[in-house]
Symmetry: C2
Subunit: 707 residues, 2 copies
């Protein structure tokens, strides 16, 4: 921050303004080298004429008033003024208009501006999001942004490479390449401005919103014609965030404890403190359990203590099953006992409006260095320690998927789906009110947890979206992260005071930030669950070439539709490969892609074509469409697929394979068999298997593993 | 068609042109009263100056050449010419440009046109679609149509009311209402032009494409500035279509036959002719079966005949299970026996490239009045006659859903899903190559079939999309029609020669035409199946007010998202109703909508709130979000819901209810129980139940039953 930029903000702050003057805003942008048309402010018509004469015609005249934010709405802008007479009458007109618009508006003068050359109007802006902080926005001006909300966001600052990608990520991006004879715009210049705006807001947290609107982009550069900067000098809430190694150390003790205390352990059937005890015991937890109870000698056959402070050994985590009112005191005792984590099952805190009680817990946690999970949660599972620290039912199918939910209901759906699908799980975690531990703490733990290969998270908000995005960007390079953001469609609540502002707070911010962080966004609960199950089952594809092999032409068409819907590229079939497939299929079958082997074929045809697809290096992923026939019954198909996949694996060949099975109910058993052998397979669906493959590709692309 | 319009087309035909000249196109539009700017063609610069003087300045100059289609690309347009000198130099410039563009272009002169006032540029056009015939298109000009494909289609002609609706059905439609201070455009004038274009192309089938581009719409009217008309005088294929009552008479005999012949009936296990016989017998068909076999005395215990001609009694339908080569002769015999329908299971026709063989069947069918189902199909089921005229497995769960598929694989998926879900079905029909009987024949049958209450169809193409749309529009007023159009994403194959042309052939045509015909479009196979199952289970809603009652706040958020995704309106809760709900729920529960009763509530809370929602007239549909707890276990919930629904039904209260169940695996049984009692319910999904309700609403709105 240079001295003069400091001065600019100090003036605004001293005067209690929430907007910089146009001259201040312009000065700031010029300091950062954003190209702008020549510009000066006149206080009289004569002065305006003199300035315009110096710039050369045509010019634009704009009212300057600290009280008028949207100049056009106030009749305060006249463009294309061609001569001195025009400047003179224009000056008087807009001053008169502005006074009619707001009789009390203070009018500082009229801005005289060199007129930009013809070009494409775009908007570059920045907003402040309560969760993500400073965001840079880019869109094409006019109706595209205002009516169709065709805009893209990134966390500020943005690299030049990311700025360039923003140009491609809007729907109307191809306009910048020139359409119908218009020349392509200077993308480097545009990306430069985006990058600079990111730097400006990153260096000046007091900027609430920044609009460069319009920026005129032409073949020969880009010029920011108008700038508007809103400021806010109130101190901002900076989320508390322990250092990474501290997080990981505490999370490892909490998630993989050697000793668990159950505060409020109970012998009484139906009590939460009893369910937790039973789940720990029946789940097969092999660490030490310390029931804490004011009177009991023992609970469920295990010696009980009056307080955690009475326990001699080390305790890694305390699970709370006591009423809300008793929590603070028990939590202090945990602090005094140096227990690094508290799992706060009790409700009755912020979710019931009792915000103060929750704040009290946060303060105790901070004071004693106890990390808090919850309150208002079902607890958590960590299967590889046989740990069911929850009042729900035990879950014991070990595997690679770690799931978490903000809501208890969604957590129960996760448990039910997992059990029903026999999905291998490493952890299921309830986050509830997220008074402390949140999604990015879990990411930091699962990142280094060798038992976890995929992370699926349901949330309604992110208390620190920026931290989440930063951690996710790193973790997603190694392990797929799937997110279900609920509340997608809620209308953005905060009133917006600017163009760019009106665009933030909408779901597109989550879309863009999550995508940029390499997170796969699930649109529905079922998608979250299916992706958590299917994505880790698939090996990482080595390239974009997808092939469909199908016994039913009709499935082939629907599977092709799904490929397009899910961003998958159907391989353009090389002639030699086409000929190789044709050797196996009837003359009226269609090679090309989909490879339609036709419905009446024996197992050998499925086998030969799948083997060919596995063996040929140019093919990277395979989608199978099975059609139930007497000649190749469902389980025959399923077995032959598993056999050929195993055979190829022994030769070192692995590729993602998914399957869609059309047929009578026997295809359900065959689908299950395939899934249990690492091939995500679905009966009566041509879309879910392709969605799962699409999710794997999204991750692999984000992690830089394909292309 | 007036005399002068006839002359216009005759000139183009005589000269072998595929384009009308601008003067011809303009004359045609003027005949129909489309408002256009004043216009004349000059052959010299002097003449152009004289014309412009007569109109008044500014004017637009445009090259006139039968060889130049896109004038702008040829540098053949100059707008905003302000005086005589400008006209003179402009004339020379565009003639020179045109010659540089195409040295051989014949240049007829330069068109001088009055310049339209400022306004919104829109496009009104018409195209000829191979399946739907003449379609009218509307979009907002420039990037919205060209880059974002924001355009809407209707079958021509269009009523004025439909034309007005087209203005609302594009994404950027609100632009026409004026944004940021611009005045709303004259929608009546615009709708008038759309309606007129529809009439023009309906009355002139030789028009292949028509572009009014741009039409300038302003506050005070709309003016078609440029017109381009492509013609095609080749005779068009007119699909053969029997009269409605003839279709219904034949289809009733085919679908509900009293006597079935099986041509190629076989005693040999594994043969198609044996499977068909067994399915007929084991399925419980009570009509007469006539096995046809060259030698056998009897098959599966039933007396066999050498030919259908040897049978004395009346035969309603013949099922073919013989090789392709034998079909023509057997089909002739069916004709001679006056059998009204042939179910052609055999393959080896158009799908293998053997188009001639299929044409032969079509000709025989036509000659003898035999309607053909197939060839290349699995046959069909009609459960209310216990009829399984197929080589697949028998299906016997009687119900109200009629399903059809173009593809055999999809047909098998229908059978499997139906059996797995115990879905009540009236018919399942394979249409295969659709040599004759197609989707609209089935619609005509199911329309008057009292056993059918919902019709779900999978297809890849419509051989006569116009007939389908017309029949569907009528039928959908009575019974919901659900369509899965496969091949959604295939790139439009035909080369387009105009703006509007480039937009047709895309999937948006199906979207718009199906929606306008009241058809619910399923995006995926699973959607088709779930909608076929769920839509008839739900009573028709009486209004748009949807309420969510949930035990899990997290489900409430996701269910709300799904409501928005599926076009459902969450009721704004009146104060008195809010207070009424609050009486039943804990103080920290949230009334409003969703009504969050919180997770720890007993069955009585669910019961009281559901009863209130059923009893209050202002609520029209209910979405339940259940959360598995010990206090209200899944089957307790399911039973209480069914009880209260039955109780209210006895009082004459029925409303659509769907349910989302979050919990451990017991919720699967509870969901099934609810579904079997008329409440579409899904475990681990917050979206599918809402999609099903959304589909019901889509239908009810299209049929004019809500709002």
């Amino acid at each position: 921050m240079t001295e003069s930029t400091t001065t600019i903000f100090e003036a605004a702050k001293a005067e209690g303004r929430s907007l910089l003057t146009p001259a201040e805003a312009r000065a700031l942008c010029e300091q950062y080298g954003i190209p702008m048309p020549k510009d000066a402010t006149a206080t009289t018509a004569d002065e305006a004429v003199a300035i315009a004469g110096g710039f050369g015609y045509p010019v634009v005249l704009k009212i300057v008033s600290p009280d008028i934010s949207h100049k056009t709405d106030a009749g305060g802008v006249i463009a294309g003024v061609a001569d001195a007479d025009g400047v003179r009458t224009g000056f008087e007109t807009i001053v008169a208009n502005a006074k009619r618009y707001d009789a009390n508006a203070r009018i500082s003068g009229v801005q005289v501006q060199q007129m930009a050359p013809a070009g494409r109007e775009v908007i570059v802006g920045a907003v402040t999001d309560p969760s993500f902080g400073k965001l840079v926005a880019f869109g094409i001006g006019g109706v595209l942004v205002e009516v169709l909300k065709d805009v893209t966001f990134r966390l500020a600052p943005v690299s030049n490479e990311d700025a360039r990608r923003m140009l491609e990520s809007i729907k109307a991006g191809q306009l910048l390449n020139g359409v119908r004879g218009s020349a392509p715009v200077d993308k480097a210049a545009l990306a430069g401005i985006i990058e600079t705006v990111g730097r400006i807001v990153a260096e000046h947290p007091e900027i609430e919103e920044l609009d460069l609107n319009p920026v005129i982009a032409s073949e020969h550069g880009a010029l920011a014609v108008d700038v508007r900067i809103a400021v806010n000098f109130e101190p901002r809430h900076v989320p508390n965030r322990p250092p990474h190694d501290e997080i990981v150390r505490a999370m490892n003790r909490i998630m993989k404890p050697d000793a668990v205390a159950v505060i409020g352990a109970s012998a009484e059937e139906g009590k939460i403190g009893n369910s937790v005890m039973k789940n720990l015991i029946n789940g097969g937890y092999e660490g030490t359990i310390y029931p804490i109870h004011p009177k009991a000698e023992s609970i469920e056959g295990i010696k009980a203590y009056k307080s955690v402070k009475d326990v001699e050994g080390v305790i890694d985590v305390a699970v709370f099953a006591i009423p809300a009112a008793l929590v603070p005191n028990a939590l202090k005792e945990c602090g005094e006992k140096s227990i690094p984590g508290a799992v706060l099952i009790p409700s009755g805190f912020a979710e019931t409006g009792n915000v103060d009680a929750q704040r009290e817990l946060q303060e105790i946690g901070k004071q004693y260095g106890v990390r808090l999970m919850g309150p208002n949660i079902y607890g958590f599972y960590y299967t590889h320690k046989n740990l069911c620290a929850t009042f729900c039912t035990a879950y014991t199918v070990k595997g690679q998927a770690a799931l978490s939910s903000q809501s208890g209901g969604i957590g129960m759906a996760i448990v039910g789906f997992s059990r029903s699908a026999q999905m291998g799980v490493s952890a299921i975690v309830g986050l509830g009110n997220k008074s402390d531990i949140d999604e990015d703490d879990l990411l930091a733990f699962f990142e280094q947890d060798d038992n976890t290969q995929v992370i699926a998270q349901h949330f309604e908000d992110l208390k620190d979206g920026r931290a989440f995005a930063e951690v996710a960007k790193r973790v997603s390079k190694q392990k797929p992260i799937i997110a279900l953001k609920a509340g997608r469609t809620a209308a953005g609540a905060r009133a917006a005071s600017s163009h760019t502002g009106a665009l933030a707070g909408n779901d597109k911010v989550y879309d863009d930030v999550l995508e940029h962080a390499g997170v796969i966004r699930a649109k529905t609960l079922r998608d979250l669950l299916e992706f958590a199950r299917g994505v880790p089952a698939l090996p990482t594809p080595k390239g974009e070439n997808v092939i469909i092999i199908t016994g039913a032409g009709g499935s082939g068409v629907l599977l092709s539709d799904s490929c397009v819907d899910n961003g998958l590229s159907l391989m353009k079939m090389p002639d030699d490969l086409d000929a190789a497939f044709r050797k196996f299929i009837p003359p009226f079958g269609a090679a090309g892609n989909p490879v339609d082997i036709t419905g009446g074929e024996p197992p050998s045809t499925y086998k030969a074509t799948i083997q060919l697809a596995l063996e040929d290096d140019r093919i990277h992923s395979i989608i199978l469409g099975y059609w139930h026939t007497i000649i190749t019954p469902p389980m025959v198909f399923a077995n032959l697929v598993v056999d050929i996949v195993e055979e190829m694996k022994a030769k070192g060949i692995t590729k993602p394979i998914v399957a869609s099975l059309a047929g009578d109910v026997e295809v359900e058993e065959a689908s299950e068999f395939l899934y249990q052998h690492g091939i995500p397979a679905y009966a009566y669906s041509t879309e879910i298997p392709v969605q799962v493959l699409g999710a794997k590709y999204k991750w692999a692309r984000g992690a830089g593993l394909v292309r």
